[in-house]
Symmetry: C2
Subunit: 335 residues, 2 copies
Amino acid sequence: MTTIADVARAAGVSTATVSRALSNPDAVSEPRRSQVLQAAKALGYAPNYAAQSLRTTRSQRIILTVPDISNPFFSAVIRGAEEAALAARYSLLIGDTHHDSEREEYYAAMLTRREADGMVFLGHRLAPTMVALVAKQGAEAPIVNGCEFEPGLNVSSVHIANAVAAAEAMQHLYDLGHRRIGVITGPLLSPISRDRLSGVQGAAAGQRLWDEVLVRTGDFSVDSGEALAHELLAEEHPPTALFCFSDEMAIGAIAALRERGLDCPRDVSVVGFDDIRYARAFQPALTTISQPKEAIGRKAVEMLLAILSKKADGLASITLPHELVVRESTAPPAR
Amino acid sequence: MTTIADVARAAGVSTATVSRALSNPDAVSEPRRSQVLQAAKALGYAPNYAAQSLRTTRSQRIILTVPDISNPFFSAVIRGAEEAALAARYSLLIGDTHHDSEREEYYAAMLTRREADGMVFLGHRLAPTMVALVAKQGAEAPIVNGCEFEPGLNVSSVHIANAVAAAEAMQHLYDLGHRRIGVITGPLLSPISRDRLSGVQGAAAGQRLWDEVLVRTGDFSVDSGEALAHELLAEEHPPTALFCFSDEMAIGAIAALRERGLDCPRDVSVVGFDDIRYARAFQPALTTISQPKEAIGRKAVEMLLAILSKKADGLASITLPHELVVRESTAPPAR
DNA sequence: GTGCATAATGTAATCCATTACAAAATATGG
DNA sequence: CCATATTTTGTAATGGATTACATTATGCAC
């Protein structure tokens, strides 16, 4: 491996000059600079990352954990995050936690070892190591929460107004004439589901129809959407519309309808959440709440970078705009 | 930050003993070891990654580049890769290249800076830096190609038998009674598409029906599938079946059918490729070639680890099994 | 108890780039 | 041309762990 010393020797200057020519060109006179650059190129020199990182105590790396990387919702967020990281010359370490707290802790420990300068997590809880960090450093802790917002965690976050969005979805169904609505939530541990459920309650109560709402708790997966839709449709008075807290569950729910010989939207309307890549192409195209996925990722990283460069003041909780996208999976109730 | 010296002081031993107690426990007597471990825990010590990496010249990191992280096909491969990496105490740096060669080079340069020990790339070409590495180190170059297989690159690879798989898909359509078949490929720059096209040609020629095959070149995206399906269906003698080289294009093609008032599979059958997560739930459920996505990721990383530990001998090109999954999107031709 | 093999521990060099501080070179003003 | 300010360059300490080699302790045989 060629080192900075080799370059210095070849260019006939000191290692300090080489270092400066490379990372702080203004501090070096023109003739030297080109001497050095030429020698560096000739030798194929590239700075050793570990040495650089050791000396500067910065890793130029951000760790991003997601509960499930193969969910296109999360991968869109990742895209935005990578964008923002790259623009600031950081690179992104991605950790798939599989919703598993041990893995969450595993990735969090990377902060302690200084493998990364900060962390963006898409989830609803902090691993022990992160709790300790937050306790010690408060708002300076280099941790940002994406998608969810749990005030008790004491970290900055970026998300949409989940309650409002959910209320809008319900209102859309009420406007179409639906009265009895089945709601399939995500795990109620996560604020994302609780907030959306609050929105559902608000909208339903506003219509004096809360007792016509049937709630089931799913886990965001296609399978749970399918199973719980079956349950709801088997009720004595089945709902004429379903609101699912993820597009994946909506897809599962529509599959359940099909299995029961029902048509969406003719017999039952379905609203999803997230507006994943396939929502548009799905048959029927999904009516859903569109989240600004890339923007969430981008913003989360930008907030983290602000914390890292001491430009952030205090905790911030940013709400990005969502949008109800009406497509084919909703229609007025039959008859 | 607590360092190894702090722990040494607290435990009343030398730094060497601390290091050994932590990373090579057998080299230290029992009493010392627990002394050290206790001190380390009490001080909340965690080894500094950069220092460790600098000294050992190993980063314990693998970089994996994908052309599009939000494609669930690739994210499934990523999952498998992360699995295998984690099991070997490596972590995965993921780079989304957006099919862009500058980004490919950007990530490849990380190898030069020793930010990663090796690289798995899901793509069909090598960035200049990687070409240089392969030229210098030959089969020892820590680079593995996943999904594709381009012998000219001189790197090991893991993939399925693309030509065979494509031929099977065609044969399935012939067996159903189709004669005139539209094929929507991916970019022909990539061997993955060329191999599949060869398989198509083989199967068609075997039936003496090659002149009934209509080929269009897409780019694996939903949109290109949709646009090219429209083109094919507007032909004077439109095909009765379409074979798309990705599920995304198949989804696009089915959307095109719908737009033209045609039903899949009643009017036109469609076969996809990859068996992504949504292929099953899609309406109609896609007939497709299932690739062992996680296994490809896992195997690619394992091969890379073998190269890194000098256990690999020469280049290897591993073929994993695929499977034609027949679902609802294919049926005998109308009439 | 002595002598030798083996195990346990310590000392200090090392990995490579950055940067505080010192020294040298150049510019500026009179 | 001298004195001082400014720019450029160099020397050497530094970051934190690992490990070759040297040293000390322990075990075992006689």
